[in-house]
Assembly symmetry: D2
Homo-oligomer: 336 residues x 4
Amino acid sequence: MDVVEVVPTPEQYAYTFGGVAPLRRVSPGTALRVWSDDAFGGALRSTADLCSEKVDLRFVNPQTGPFWVEGAEPGDTLALHFVAMEPARDFGASAAIPFFGGLTSTDRTATLQDPLPDTTWIYELDRAAGTVTFAARHTDLQIALPLEPMLGTVGVAPPGGEVRSSLVPERFGGNMDSPQMRPGTTCFLPVFVEGALFSVGDGHYRQGEGEACGTAVEGAMTSTFVVELVKAGAAAAPAWPRLEDDTHWMTVGSSRPLEDAWRIGQVELVRWFGELYGLHPMDAYQLLSQTVEVPIANVVDANYSAVVKVRKGLLPPATAFGGLHDDLRRRAAGLL
Amino acid sequence: MDVVEVVPTPEQYAYTFGGVAPLRRVSPGTALRVWSDDAFGGALRSTADLCSEKVDLRFVNPQTGPFWVEGAEPGDTLALHFVAMEPARDFGASAAIPFFGGLTSTDRTATLQDPLPDTTWIYELDRAAGTVTFAARHTDLQIALPLEPMLGTVGVAPPGGEVRSSLVPERFGGNMDSPQMRPGTTCFLPVFVEGALFSVGDGHYRQGEGEACGTAVEGAMTSTFVVELVKAGAAAAPAWPRLEDDTHWMTVGSSRPLEDAWRIGQVELVRWFGELYGLHPMDAYQLLSQTVEVPIANVVDANYSAVVKVRKGLLPPATAFGGLHDDLRRRAAGLL
Amino acid sequence: MDVVEVVPTPEQYAYTFGGVAPLRRVSPGTALRVWSDDAFGGALRSTADLCSEKVDLRFVNPQTGPFWVEGAEPGDTLALHFVAMEPARDFGASAAIPFFGGLTSTDRTATLQDPLPDTTWIYELDRAAGTVTFAARHTDLQIALPLEPMLGTVGVAPPGGEVRSSLVPERFGGNMDSPQMRPGTTCFLPVFVEGALFSVGDGHYRQGEGEACGTAVEGAMTSTFVVELVKAGAAAAPAWPRLEDDTHWMTVGSSRPLEDAWRIGQVELVRWFGELYGLHPMDAYQLLSQTVEVPIANVVDANYSAVVKVRKGLLPPATAFGGLHDDLRRRAAGLL
Amino acid sequence: MDVVEVVPTPEQYAYTFGGVAPLRRVSPGTALRVWSDDAFGGALRSTADLCSEKVDLRFVNPQTGPFWVEGAEPGDTLALHFVAMEPARDFGASAAIPFFGGLTSTDRTATLQDPLPDTTWIYELDRAAGTVTFAARHTDLQIALPLEPMLGTVGVAPPGGEVRSSLVPERFGGNMDSPQMRPGTTCFLPVFVEGALFSVGDGHYRQGEGEACGTAVEGAMTSTFVVELVKAGAAAAPAWPRLEDDTHWMTVGSSRPLEDAWRIGQVELVRWFGELYGLHPMDAYQLLSQTVEVPIANVVDANYSAVVKVRKGLLPPATAFGGLHDDLRRRAAGLL
C-alpha cells in the first residue's frame, strides 16, 4: 500500500469542522501520512511564551484537512485506522491559559475571580528513552513521563450546515481529547456531508484523562492512518463516534453537563451492543452496567467528552462494520 | 493480629450515615471481619422479585455499623485497609428500578415519560471459576464475568450534625460506588464526629464504572479490614476521601453535576500532591493534567462520584500518612 | 384568633431540619408570632465584621423551631399561611463569603483560584420610608431599596431519617430562598414524620432572584403565620413544596444542576394542574409551556431552587386543598 | 422615517447564523417591516399534522435575513429596536416533538425510555379580543390566553468563522426564546463579522418562561424594527446580548448547564453596571444580588438561556450606548 504524504502550509490550516474547501481528495483504502501543527500553532517554544500574548483562542487546534473522501455520502460511515503517531518536534508545550481549563472559572462557568497565573511548561522529548519530561516551574522537580502519542482532534463536517470551531467535540467527532485516539485504534464517524470532509490535528505527546488544565503535552505530529468508507447499505452509521481497538469496544459522547456526555456514550454503546449481540436494550443496559470502563476524555472544551468502553475479552467474539478493524490491522501491518 | 467477627441482625442494619447509635466500639489497629447484606436487604432472589414490589428506596444499602473508633476526634483521619471481600451468598442480584439509574428520568431529572420496565437479573456465582454469570432476560445469551468484589458504601458520620441516607456519597465517603474500593485498598476518610462512626455495606460482586443502571451485581459480603487512626497532629485530614493501593494515589469527589464531582477530586489530588511532593498548586495542576486516570464511579446516586488517580510508577517515591498503607499491607498479610 | 408568641434563646436555635427535639407543640389552626435571628446569628453588625472571622458555615440560618404539629402524620400536608413579616432589627447585613455564592468557585465548583475579597455590606432600615439602603463599599453610591420582607427558610423534617443542614433546600422545603415566601403566601409542605417538625428562619429584608452573592439583606424577623394541617384523606400531599397566593399557583423544585430544579418544579405543577383542572399530563405540559413564569430562587445553596408559577387570572377558577388558602386569608385578616 | 418591507420566499429562508449570503443590505437608521415564517415553516396547520412526519429538526426556525448592516465591523454593537410584532396568520401551532423539550429525554439527556406521544396543538387567534386559545387534546377545556407576540430568534453571525443552527442561542444571540424580545425592547448584540449579518425569526404569539415543551405558540410574524449601529469608538460592545426597555436593564446568558447561562448573564450585568454607575465589581455583585429578577428564557434548546434584569425604577437614572434606547423609542413613535 502506498502512503500519501501531506504537509500543509500555515495558510492551509483549518480552524473549523465544515466551512473549509477540501485540502485534498482521497479514495477509500488510501494510507495517509499527515503532519499537523500543535494546538498553539507552534507559538509556545519556551516558558517565556505566554498564551495571553501569543495565542488567540479562536484559532487554536489547527487542522490538517479537510480531506474529501471519494464516494462518501450522508448515511455512510467513515473509518480512520491509526497506524503510527510520531512527534514532529523535540518538545511539547502545555499551558494554563487564563480563564480556560477545568479548575478555573471560564467564559461559561463565569465568576468574578481573578484568573490563574498564565503559565507555560515545556516538555523536552527524549526519543531514545521514549519520554517527555515535566519540569516544575516553582521547584526543581523533574519527572520523565512515557511518551504516549495521541490525536486530540479527529472529525468530519457537521450536519445541518453548521461549522464548528476545532475546539469543539460533538457527534461529528472533533476535539474529543481522548487518549484512546492512538495508534492501533479505528475511529468510526458518521458521514453528514458529501465527501465527509474529515480533518485531524491537536497532537498530544501525552495527556491525562480529563485534560484538567485544558492543554495536554501539545506537539506537532506526523500521523499515519488508513482511510476507509462503509457504505450505508453495508452497515448503519453510528449516531456518535465509535472507536475500536484490539481490546475494546468504545463510544464517545460529548455534551454539557458531563453526565449528558456520559449518557450519550452509554446509549450509543447500548445501541452498538444491540447490533453486535442481538441484545434487547434492557439487557444491553444491564450487561454494560457491570462491564464498562468510563475514562473521562475532557472536562474543558466547549462540550465535555466521556469515553465508555468494554473489554472485548469479557464478551463473546463479535465483529463490527464487517470486521473492518481486523482487516485494517492487517493492512496497516504492511505500512510499518 | 486477632480478627473480630461482626454479623448484624436485620434489626441492627443502619440506613444512614450519622444518627445511629454505635453497633460496637473498636480500637485503632483492630481487624474486623464484617458481614453486610446486599443493597436490597436480600429481597431480590429470583427474576420474579421486582423492586417496585419488594424494595423501598428509603431503606436500601443496609450498613453494618456504625463502629465507634476509640480516640477518634474531629480533625483526625480514619484509615480502613481492605484485606479481603468474600461473597456471602451464591448469587448476586441487579435491577432496573423504575425512575432510578443513569439512562432513565428520575425524581430529579424529572420527565413525563413512562419508566423503563421494572426488571431483575440474577447472577449465579461460580466460586471455583471465580465468576458471576450474566443471563439476558430477552434472549438466551449468558456470559460468565470475573468476580471482582468491592464495597459500594464506606463512610463516616457527616459534619454539621447532618444525617444522610446510605444512598448518598459525599465528603464523608458513603455510597461512592467505585470499583477501587476493593481488597488491597486503604481508604482515608476525614473524621467529623467523636468516634468517627463509620459503617460499610453495599457489596458488589462486580460493577462497571458509572454503575449505569443504578445497581451493580449486588451481593451480601464478608469483608475483612483493618481499622487505623491518624491523629490530627500527625497529618492533616483530607477534605474528601482519599484512596491508596500499591499502584495508585486516588481521590473521590461526589457532587452534581458530574463535572463538579470531578473538580472536587482533582482539587483534592492537587492538595495531596502538594503534601507528597512539595509541589506548587499550579505545578501539581499541570503534572496531574498529563498523568491522571479518571474512572467515573457512579452517575446514578443522589450525588455522582468521580475517581481521580495517578499511577505511582510514573512518579518519584513518596509516602502518605506516615507510610500507613505499606504498614497496613504488611499487617494484613498476616491475616490471609 | 389568639396569637402565640415565640422568641427562642440562642441555645434553642436549630441548625438542621430533623434531628432536633421540638421547641413547642402547636395545634392546627394556631397563629404564631415567631422571632428568628438572621442567617449569621447576628454576627455581622458593621462592615468591619467579616464572615471569615465571625461566621461558621456549618451553623448559619438558625431556625426557630422545630414545631410539633398535633395530629400531623406522614402523608398529610402542612400549610403555613404567612400574615406578616416585620424586621426585628434596624439594619440588615449581606456578605460575599469566601468560596460561597454564585459568581465564585465554591467547595463544589472547586477551582484553584483565589477567593473574592471577604466583604460585608450593612443596609440601614428606614421603617417610615419602608426602605433598606445599599451603600457601595468602593464608591459613594447609596440607593434606598424597597423593604420586601421574606423568609429564606421554611421546612419540615426530611423523610428516610435524614437530617439536613438549614443551608439545604429539598423536597422538605428548607432553604429555598424565594422572594415568594412573603406575607400573603400559603406554603404547602408534605409531612414526612409524625408531628411534621417544621421550622422557619433566614429572614431577608429583600432579595434578588437567584441570591447571586449567596446572601440577601439578612435580618432578624418577626413572622406571623397560621398553621394548618390537611389530612391525607382530604387531599394528596404534594411531592415537593407548593405555594399559593391570591394571584399565583406556584411550585418549588430544588436540585443540581439548575435545570433539574426547574424540571422538578415543572413536573410538580403538571401534577397539580391535573388535580386542579382534570388535565391530562400532556395537556398540562402544553398549557404550562405557554403560561408559566420561572423566577429563579437561588443558585447558591447546596441545592439550587427554581420557582414555577402561573397567574390565576389566566385560568378558570379552581381551588386547592379544599380552598384552604382563601380560608386562611380570611382568618388572617382578623390578625392584622 | 421610511419602512422597508421584506417578505422572503421559502427558498430564501436561512437556517443558520453565519454561512448564508446577505438577503439585503440596510443602512443604520433603517426601519424594517419583516415577515418571518413560524418555527415549523408552516408545516403544522391542524392537530393531525405531526412533527415526526412533517418537521425536520435540522431545518426549523427559518430566519428572515441575514441583513448586511452598512458600516458594521467587528467590535461594533448592533442595536435592534422592536416597534411592533403582528401575527401574520390566524392560528399558532405548538407541539411535543419526540425527544425534544424540557420534560423528556433528548438526544443529549439521553435515556432508554420511549418518547412522549407526538402531539400537536392549534391555537386559534382572535384579533379583536387579542387572544390565542388553548384547546386541550384530551378533555374539552379551552382557555383564551392573551396574545403577547415576541420573537424567539434574533442573532448575528458568530465569531471565529462558526456557523450555528437557528436552534442555538449563544453570545451572538440566536434562539434565546425570551418573552422579553417584544415590542418596546432594544436588543444590543456584539458585531463579530463585517456587516453584522443579523436575522430574525421564530415568532411566538405567546410563550411561558422556560418554553417547557420546547415550542411556544409558534406563528408567522410581521415585525417592525429599527436598525442602528454603535461604533466601537463610541461604546464597548457587550460580551453577550443586552436588552433594554423602558423599565429594565437586561442581559441574556446561554449555555449548559442552566446555572452557567445564569452566571454568564449575571457577570455581564455586573460589567454593565460598572459602565452605568461606575460600580466596583464587588459592589455591583452585591447590588444585583438584592435587585435582579431572573426569568428563565428556555431550558430546551442546544444551549439554555437565562435573562437577568433589574428594574430601572429601583436605581438612579443612567443611560447606555449614548441613550440610544430612548432615542429609538422617539423615532419608533413616528412609525406607529
